[in-house]
């Protein structure tokens, strides 16, 4: 039996989400195409629009500002490539951070081959990019800033609310990847002038393969579509809408809105319990400790142990490791290294991401195993004897 502490990678379906999806998925169910004008199509369309309401509501958006996509990776691609292409006559400079998700970084790298100039900001040791850093990086050519609201590895929360109005004043588009933020922290886009925002269903107990992009109407953010054919989603994202997936995302976001405060309190208490037990070990370091972080994520580096062995020592823990591989070409977490962690500590890190079903007993078991295995590996290590 494994203990699943990898909810930042993906979450299981919420039972209510599963129930909501079934009528649109099962044989003999409501299979109509939401774009069809007959009765079956209308029923599907009503379900799609109800889901749009739930998604919009969780983040304080207008219903018409939600564009369905296949997930946050597609949303990031659509936002960044779409904005760059649409506004390329205005300028070709993009500002982002070194700690972004690969869906943003690789998209920016691609755009560099298409004439974009990209500035990759290095965050402080706490994992945050200061608004001033972003403003200093702007040039008259800057068309887009892309930053994630919550980092997937550390759980660090960026100060999006402080930065957004300053970018608005300067007429620079602001895209935010909120895949790890939605349902974890309160988001109100009526108060925070973000222009584009990526959302994912499966990080919030919804189905995999489903996401959305918030595209602001006032002032209107314009995008060049990346998928053509059929003109769905106001022409921004063609393709037959997957009704069951959309209904699942809507149901998940509805549950998330109801549970936001409860989840925050519950996961925060479990996270603190876990850290308290891990602190039995000397020389452990919480990554992003000095910054505000979401309640469910704890990323810890353990001095004196090698990352791959640490991960292999914990076969019953379904978690994430900063270790790619200790072979000659293996790279440790680029996010932790950007925070200034040396390779060994970036490598010897574990990300525990907790979820609604996580229990105190699971936390205690994991903590006991981690403490025991770190002690075992340290005892094996000639380096630990030298440095302790």
């Amino acid at each position: 039996m494994t203990i699943y502490l990898d909810h930042a990678a993906t979450t299981p379906l919420d039972p209510a989400v599963f129930e909501a999806m079934l009528p649109y998925l099962k044989p003999g169910g409501l299979h109509g195409n939401p774009a069809s004008d007959h009765a079956d199509g209308k029923r599907a369309r009503q379900a799609v629009e109800m889901a749009r309401i739930h998604v919009a509501k969780l983040v304080g958006a207008e219903v018409g500002e939600i564009v369905w996509t296949s997930g946050a990776t597609e949303s990031d691609n659509l936002a960044i490539k779409g904005a760059f292409e649409f506004y390329r006559e205005r300028g070709r400079h993009i500002v982002t951070a070194m700690t972004e998700h690969k869906a943003v970084l690789d998209t920016c790298r691609y755009l560099e081959t298409q004439g974009a100039q990209v500035t990759y900001l290095k965050p402080g040791p706490d994992g945050r990019v200061a608004p001033g850093q972003v403003l200093d990086a702007l040039t008259p050519q800057t068309v887009l800033v892309s930053l994630m609201w919550v980092n997937n590895e550390t759980g660090v929360i960026q100060d999006v609310a402080a930065l957004a109005p300053q970018l608005r004043e300067r007429s620079v588009l602001f895209h935010v990847d909120a895949a790890q933020a939605a349902g974890k922290i309160p988001i109100d886009l009526r108060a925070v002038p973000v222009d584009l925002m990526s959302l994912s269903a499966h990080k919030v107990y919804g189905p995999k393969g489903m996401g959305a992009l918030f595209v602001r109407k006032k002032p209107r953010a314009r995008l060049a579509p990346q998928l053509h054919g059929g003109g769905h989603e106001q022409g921004m994202r063609s393709g037959t809408l997957p009704t069951h997936q959309i209904v699942g995302m809507g149901a998940a976001f509805k549950v998330a809105a109801q549970r936001l405060a409860v989840d925050h309190a519950q996961l925060g208490a479990l996270r603190d319990r876990l850290l308290g037990r891990l602190r039995d070990l000397p020389e452990i370091f919480v990554n992003g400790e000095a910054a505000p972080r979401v309640a469910g994520v704890l990323n810890v580096s353990f001095a004196g142990v090698e990352g791959e062995s640490l991960r292999a020592s914990l076969p019953e823990l379904a978690g994430s490791s900063g270790s790619a591989c200790s072979s000659a070409t293996g790279e440790s977490s680029y996010v932790l290294r950007a925070l200034g962690r040396e390779d060994e500590l970036a490598n010897a890190s574990l990300r525990f991401s907790l979820g609604r079903a996580t229990t105190e007993a699971e936390i205690d078991t994991v903590a006991e195993q981690v403490v025991g295995q770190v002690r075992r590996l340290r005892a094996l290590s000639p380096l630990w004897r030298e440095t302790a």
Binding site: S309, A312, P315, S327, A328, L380, S381
Partner: protein, 122 residues
Amino acid sequence: MNPFGYSEPVWRLFTEPLHAGMLEGSRVLVGKAATPANRNRLELRVLMKADRIEDARFQAYGCPATIAVGAWLCERAIGSTLADLSAIRAREIRQALEIPEDRHHCALLGEDAVQSLCSSAS
């Protein structure tokens, strides 16, 4: 439970590394090796009785294969002579532990530690 796909001998010796630890005293020989690129370390210590190795211990910092190499070398060393030990090459270590090509450096680390130990005797 070996969810990460290590070979059976690597997994067995990594999860229960026999002969981990230290040896001290005038009859103890020490061999040390390191790979600068990823800081893997292996230290071997053997206790000599006449021309035979009576006991062996290792310490290692590195991936599971590195730890398994240390444990395997200790098993292999006990009861043998230094001449036997010095004949061990990375290829033999890799075969015995079913270490894949991309982990060849772990087996080389073992060979280097053995050579270091044997040269300390001369």
